[in-house]
Amino acid sequence: MPETSAAPLIAVRDLRVEFPGANASKEVLKRVSLTVQPGEILGLVGESGAGKTTLARSILGVPPTSGRIAAGEVIFEGRNILDLPEPELRKLRGSRLSIVVPNPRAELNPTMTVGKQIAAMARIHLGVDRAQAARMALAMLSDVHIPDPQRRMNAYPHELSGGMAQRVVIAMALICNPAFIISDDATSGLDVTVQAQILSLLGGLAADHGSAMLFITRDIGIAAHFCDRVAVLYSGEIMELAPREELFLKPAHPYTLMLLAAFSHSPKLRDAWRVAETGARQIRDGGCSYANRCPLAQPVCSDGRPPFAEIRPGHFARCHFPVSHE
Amino acid sequence: MLAKLRLFARLALVRPRFAAGYVIVVVVTILAILAPVIAPFSPTEADSLSFLQPPSSAHVFGTDNVGMDIFSRAIYAPRIDLTIAILGTGLSALLGGSLGALVGYYSSGQGIRVWLSFALMRAADVLQAFPIFVFAIALVASLGQSIQTVVLAIAFVNAPIYLRLMRSQVLSIRSMRYVEASQVNGLSDFQTIIRHVIPNAMGPVLAQLSINVGWGIVLTAALSFIGAGVRAPTPEWGSMIAMGFQNVVTGQWWPSMFPGTMLAVTVFGFSLIGASIEVLADPAKRRLLLTDVRLRDIARAAKTAKRASLGQG
């Protein structure tokens, strides 16, 4: 996969994840490849069901329940971590590779105080003693700007609001200073003002710690403002990958255009770029997976899977007829 | 219909333990039915000259301390035990179940019905707080020691279980939309219950029934063991165990062990059947079982195909 010349921090290659279905397995991720450079924020945009959470968790080797990693590699620090035995992988997770999960109150342990859960990360991965871990947890809670951190240390997850719980989960992801953070839909379900706070918090902390981030979201507008590069995921495939300005100003894939039009705040842009979507959602083998919804589809789109082509330097699109902006 | 039965049979048998359960119960039932034909000796006549004989070719299970042939008695015994247990359990399910359904249905609303439901539930609480065994003995003692009273004792002891089961079934189904829909369609309360509650409750109730029959056998045997159930010389596993009890301590194990083992195996068989019904009744678990069946079919087909191709090549 042709990318920038510097060595990527983490490279996902041809990842295939399937789930058991009624008759045959359903491929939720179809040969997904991407790379993240050190210190960069790569955005991943997709609608519900596109496979975002599956991708996020499969990169760490833990696909969602009943999912199976059928093929592919995740190269990190020189080795394919998917080949590692589970205990080795656990040493990496949380310490070098961490994840910020959505819906945090459901994911935190209901019978442990949040302070203990944050401290546990430090104790497990950094080997510090209990007192030191507690201090680190308290410091982390301040870093994520939780009001009254000392009291919150002894709170249980159900006593926290959504925004506070999200900050706790961020604290847990960052306390061990990971090289790579996956933020899976970390701001959905939060109030808009809280969203903005969390976003700036994440960005600032990542920059402070020098971590790279895979920022997964449903909102292409946020991705375009927050990330260095953005990838668009549809039906388990990366449809487009481009630097931020490129994507925002010269989107190539029809699906990206649809996303941008739907989220655009300017009615003129919406009208200009609105493309009527046609057809029902069907899962098709062979051909472009967006073909049945694409208003620009031609007969050849149903026959051959379009290659992931570099249409401009650093700008890739999986489309037979990418939109030109000349 | 036949296809459904076939599928049911395949599902039930795909796990060896389920198959074992059905086999055990079927075998014991056959033995009980055919006992008069198979038994080499009369179950109540004693040959006082040959008491406490170890197992031999003449007496397959040996003889007990008054000279009765243990094998004959042991295969006659399930007639009593099974009958009592099935009757008692069936009665408890009917009694408890119908009361429970009514309680569930009238647990909200107005008037005296709600009050009665509440009182009935509290009565069930009190009943279940009783030490079961003492309660059963007291019932049998107060009503007179006979087969019928043992049946009644089993019925009473188990009724609260079905009461709660049916009540919770009714409550959970009541709140579901399609029941509301049928009521809108003009069905009466009673018809609603019949049409919706019963099919849904079938699974858990059947599983519970199977396990309860096993318990019923144990309770009958236990009552007879202490002399408060079926009277001697009627062959019954519990009383046989009691008769041979002292002999075990002195080393003659066969008067107690044979009936005891048969008792344990039979009850275990009912337990296995109950477990199999539990799995079959739960759609999620049934799906898993179905997957196993399919995988097995695929593996078998692959094997046959491989064999065929090897034969050709």
Partner: protein, 336 residues
């Protein structure tokens, strides 16, 4: 403070429950045939003697008056007298109940150790042979008759191997029992410093405890296994895996969350076993309270039965209240 109000609340509910239990037991036991006066005086008694004894016992009064008198006596701590032992039932029970309690408590401990351990193993290694064995073991719940299993153990360990003592009570015949402090032999012998008696008591406890413990581990095993499976598949367990928490810790945290359900089944079992140990008591001539009650029923001696029912009901209720308090400690979501 909140704990006290909660306790007061619960106790309020306990009283009508207890009343109901006493009432039903009374009616039940009163319907057992057999005239206690006749049984006490024997077959040679004259009708006049029987009549006067009946008057003394209050048996000539209508039923509700008898019940009223019984309850009034209860409130004064008088549980009636057993005509078999000719002693107050309260004294008899105080002597026998600890024997049952000791047996049941130790058996429950065995059941917990076996059930929780196997259940944990089965939940964390669902494809291993332990899981398969645990499934079968769980199926023996309530299935295997305890008096038969006790007999098997006696045959194997006493008759054949000679390892266990004869099933004749709690102590060897030649040993003098220690002064009774708690009624539990294991404690009393240690308190008296009598190690020989302690050893004898333990060896006599071995088989009955093994019987009850192994047979009742089933429900605990099943509950542990199913609850742990649910916990290990829950969101928070998966999140811990995503955070790189090692397997042992994940299991421990899941167990912590599974405790309420496991504690529930243990408490239910505890209450059940007080009356459910009767058959084992009989087989081993234990001299426990359950055996006492059964003898009461079989001999139309009603006060022991009523007293036993009362004792075991109160015991169950205490256990349930203690368990509810434990819940409040275990689950931080409840206290709000």
């Amino acid at each position: 403070m909140r704990v006290l109000t909660y306790l007061a609340h619960r106790l309020l509910f306990v009283i009508p429950q207890l009343f109901g239990i006493i009432l039903v037991s009374f009616l039940l036991v009163k319907s057992v045939p057999g005239d206690p006066a006749v049984l006490m005086l024997g077959p040679t008694a004259t009708p006049a003697a029987i009549a006067s004894l009946r008057k003394v016992l209050g048996l000539d009064q209508p039923l509700y008056v008898q019940f009223f008198i019984y309850v009034k006596n209860l409130l004064h701590g008088n549980l009636g007298t057993s005509w078999q032992t000719t002693r107050p039932v309260l004294d008899d029970l105080i002597q026998r109940f600890p024997a049952t309690l000791e047996l049941v408590t130790l058996s429950l401990l065995v059941a917990i150790v076996v059930g929780v351990t196997l259940g944990l193993y089965a939940a964390t290694r669902p494809n291993g042979w332990i899981a398969r064995f645990a499934d079968l073991y769980g199926l023996s719940v309530g299935a295997l008759p305890d008096f038969w299993f006790a007999l098997v153990l006696i045959f194997v360990f006493y008759t054949m191997l000679g390892w266990a003592p004869a099933p004749l009570g709690r102590l060897d015949m030649i040993i003098i029992p220690p002064p009774s402090v708690t009624g539990a032999l294991t404690i009393d012998t240690l308190l008296a410093g009598d190690l020989q008696a302690f050893g004898s008591g333990l060896s006599h406890l071995a088989l009955p405890v093994l019987t009850l413990g192994l047979l009742n581990a089933g429900p605990i095993l099943k509950m542990t296994q199913s609850t742990m499976e649910k916990m290990l598949e829950s969101d928070f367990s998966r999140y811990e895996v995503l955070c790189g928490v090692p397997e042992r810790l994940v299991t421990r945290h899941a167990l912590r969350n599974a405790l309420p359900s496991i504690v529930t089944i243990i408490s239910v079992l505890y209450g059940f076993l007080i009356g459910g140990a009767v058959l084992v008591e009989i087989v081993f001539s234990w001299g426990g309270a359950g055996q006492y009650a059964v003898q009461g029923v079989l001999n139309s001696d009603i006060y022991p039965v009523l007293g036993f029912v009362l004792f075991s009901a109160i015991f169950s209720l205490i256990v349930y209240i203690v368990v509810d308090l434990i819940y409040v400690l275990l689950d931080p979501r409840i206290s709000n």
